[in-house]
């Protein structure tokens, strides 16, 4: 799995690092107040906030994960973009941004305080700040692991050095630094990865050749160890986005029905993420005026719509490559421990005289993974003829594993196609997205901590200088806490999964609270608070009572009792979100009607749709108005869907 970097690759990496640190220092002199540091003083042009908006979302884990899904599910993955992002981004721009930006709230939790009360703000800001720290910790752990595996760098050194770089530029230039480096990262990823996609596509013989190969795969995925032997799909399962979905959960590789996809992902999860997550919304709030703020998600939607070609296509190319034996490519197998190799070697040595079936069983048991029958037999035969050296043996054994580490897809392609030079560019893009992921989380964390927790509950009415220093201290603490979480993630993988699960419960109902708060003036603070809590609890309860096919009751659900079995984990996630949202909306409406309003119409002006004067875009040409751009984007998105129907 390891690659060797040349001086040129290191030079490109070093250049990028120097530039991001340089940006931090160049911005230092503009950091005069806490609002410069934490909210960029609302002064950044649209195209910059727009690209930062999309970059904050395009973390390295997304890059890795989407290529993995591209291999596992094919073009169906693009629903995460065209159904699960674009409509929500347009909605944020046209309908919600006026309240976020117009209320002059400095953060999403602060908006909640203005609209509802302190309880809702506290609930949201605490869960959000804990979540950002964990998110950046998880991603930094993945980065350090990757650098260790791929380049042989020391785990601790990688973790601390990358964090130190982020610390320097965020501490010097605050949110502006983070936004600027996100723009740099955007270009780095697009320009670093598109040649890899181009070379991959050329290697498999173009897109139409690729769809031909994937049709064969869909009808017999077991031939490539992509599914169990019993599973088969119609030929378009990997190559059309809607037909397999409409045919039902048994007919598409995701195992999802169209309703869960459209309502669960496309409405609840997607709107919940794009419209309420301060990490992305913060970028739009940093824009220089209302039109710029509203256009930010729209600018971001353009690259977002085209990203499937950059991030999903590589996964499909990887599967296509596997169908051409002469290419000698396979999606990498999971990493095996050294002890496993040693154990397997003794088993292989002892298997020489056993019947083939017994030998296969023994070796599979020793490795603890599904193995390829023919490759194991060949290995046993060759080993009996002449014992292999450990390196050669390990290589052959690893190759005989019939399971895939899908997260390794993108890197295996980078390694396969990039000569020195381009390799440095692609790896820098990856590293950049890890670091700016941390920077994005930390800048969201320090704002919420300083304004929504520290200023609100711990030390109100201090000088601005005081909050500026607190913001800087929070940056340092946020990064140290992220490093702590990275180590935690490294040690307790399971604990990490539980934490992420809890956050999924917390996030699922959030959009219900926002949409009622913004569009129904009768919503009360008590209703919102209890609705949000109720939605979270509902999500947890449904999870405890349901399970997805192929999983045992436990971490993956069903630990109380199994009332319903979903066809796949993804379907389970989507339905959980649907339940959480429905319960949150139901409770919020019910309790709001039963409680007295605490805020008058005047207090809610600028915070609720019906009480806010409509924005007149008269000063803007018709083609520059958010409503027009948004409609055009939705139309373009529909066209893309039809193209891969």
């Amino acid at each position: 799995m390891q690659v060797t970097l040349t001086w040129l690759d290191y030079l490109i990496l070093l250049t990028y690092t120097c530039f991001v640190v340089g940006i931090g220092f160049a911005l230092r002199k503009y950091m005069r107040s806490s609002s410069d540091f934490l909210t960029s003083g609302r002064s950044i042009p649209t195209w910059v906030t727009g690209l930062a908006f999309i970059s904050a979302n395009l973390g390295a884990l997304e890059l890795v994960g989407m290529a993995a899904s591209g291999a596992k599910y094919g073009i169906l993955t693009s629903h995460f973009y065209w159904v699960g992002a674009i409509p929500a981004m347009v909605f944020l721009a046209v309908f919600m941004m006026p309240f976020y930006y117009g209320s002059r709230a400095r953060s999403v939790p602060e908006y909640l305080k203005m609209r509802f009360d302190e309880r809702v703000r506290a609930l949201n800001s605490i869960s959000f700040s804990v979540m950002t720290v964990f998110a950046s910790g998880i991603s930094m752990n993945a980065l350090a692991k990757l650098l260790h595996l791929l380049l042989g760098w020391n785990y601790h050194a990688s973790l601390w050095i990358c964090s130190a770089v982020v610390l320097v530029y965020v501490l010097k230039g605050g949110l502006t630094s983070a936004i600027y480096t996100e723009v740099l990262q955007f270009f780095m990823i697009v320009l670093g990865f598109s040649p890899v996609v181009y070379l991959g596509l050329k290697d498999v013989g173009g897109y139409s050749a690729l769809t031909g190969m994937l049709k064969g795969v869909a009808m017999n995925p077991a031939a490539f160890h992509l599914r169990d032997t019993a599973t088969t799909y119609s030929s378009n399962a990997w190559t059309s986005a809607w037909q397999p979905l409409l045919a039902g959960p048994a007919h598409n590789p995701m195992g999802v029905d169209w309703f869960a996809m459209v309502f669960g992902l496309g409405f609840v999860l997607s709107f919940g993420y794009w419209c309420t997550n301060f990490l992305v919304v913060q970028r739009a709030m940093a824009a220089r005026n209302m039109t710029a703020a509203r256009n930010t998600p729209l600018v971001a939607a353009v690259p977002k719509m085209l990203f499937p070609a950059l991030v999903i296509l590589p996964g499909m190319i990887a599967v296509g490559l596997m169908t051409i034996p002469s290419k000698g490519y396979r999606i990498p197998a999971p990493i095996l421990e050294n002890a496993v190799y040693a154990k397997a070697m003794t088993v292989v040595a002892a298997s020489a005289d056993l019947p083939a079936e017994q030998a296969f069983k023994d070796v599979s048991a020793a490795v603890g993974k599904r193995m390829d029958r023919a490759k194991v037999a060949a290995l046993v035969r060759d080993y009996a003829a002449k014992p292999l050296a450990p390196d050669a043996f390990n290589d052959r054994l690893w190759n005989a594993v019939a399971e895939y580490d899908y997260d390794g897809v993108i890197l295996s392609l980078v390694k396969r196609y990039c000569p020195p030079g381009l390799l440095g560019l692609a790896l820098t893009g990856l590293l950049a997205s890890f670091m700016s992921g941390m920077a994005g989380n930390v800048t969201a964390f320090n704002t919420v901590w300083t304004y929504d927790l520290y200023q609100a509950y711990i030390a109100p009415k201090k000088s601005d200088d005081h909050y500026m220093r607190m913001g800087q201290a929070a940056t340092l603490v946020g990064i140290l806490a992220s490093i702590g979480c990275a180590y935690f993630a490294r040690m307790y993988n399971n604990a990490m999964d539980i934490i992420q699960l809890v956050f999924a419960f917390v996030n699922a109902p959030l959009f219900g609270t926002f949409v009622l708060g913004m569009f129904w003036k009768r919503t009360t603070g008590t209703g919102a608070f209890l609705g949000l809590l109720g939605g979270t609890v509902a999500s947890g309860v449904v999870h405890a009572l349901t399970i997805s096919q192929g999983n045992a009751p436990g971490m993956k659900g069903g630990y109380l009792s199994v009332v319903h079995t979903f066809p796949s984990e993804m379907a389970q996630n989507f339905w959980l979100a649907i339940f959480a949202f429905t319960v949150c909306v139901g409770l919020t409406v019910g309790i709001s009607l039963a409680t007295r309003r605490t805020k008058s119409d005047e207090e809610l002006t600028g915070l609720v749709y019906s009480l806010t004067p409509k924005i007149k875009d008269a000063g803007t040409a018709w083609y520059g108005r958010p409503a027009f751009i948004g409609t055009a984007l939705l139309a373009a998105c529909a066209v893309l869907n039809v193209l891969v129907w």
Binding site: A26, I44, P195, K202, A292, P419, G421, L422
Partner: protein
């Protein structure tokens, strides 16, 4: 904010593009280096493209300093 982001973007990609172009030019006949990229001298091609992109960014940034055009949509 006082710093126009197009300066650092332009400078960085011009520099990286130049590096890749020079390296790609020097190694253009070295089949071994480009075995991975299907025999295409991708460094030369992509280096030139990055260089053009970088220079374009620098051009846009400098035009604004001279009072030429607006810095993107207001």
């Amino acid at each position: 904010m006082g710093l126009d982001i197009r300066w650092p973007i332009g400078l960085m990609f011009s520099f990286v593009g130049l590096l890749m172009t020079i390296y790609g030019f020097v190694t253009r006949n070295d089949a071994e280096v480009y075995r991975r990229s299907l025999g295409i001298d991708i460094n030369l091609i992509w280096g030139v493209l990055l260089l053009v992109f970088g220079i374009l960014m620098l051009f846009l940034a400098s035009r604004r300093r001279n009072g030429g055009g607006p810095p993107g949509p207001k």
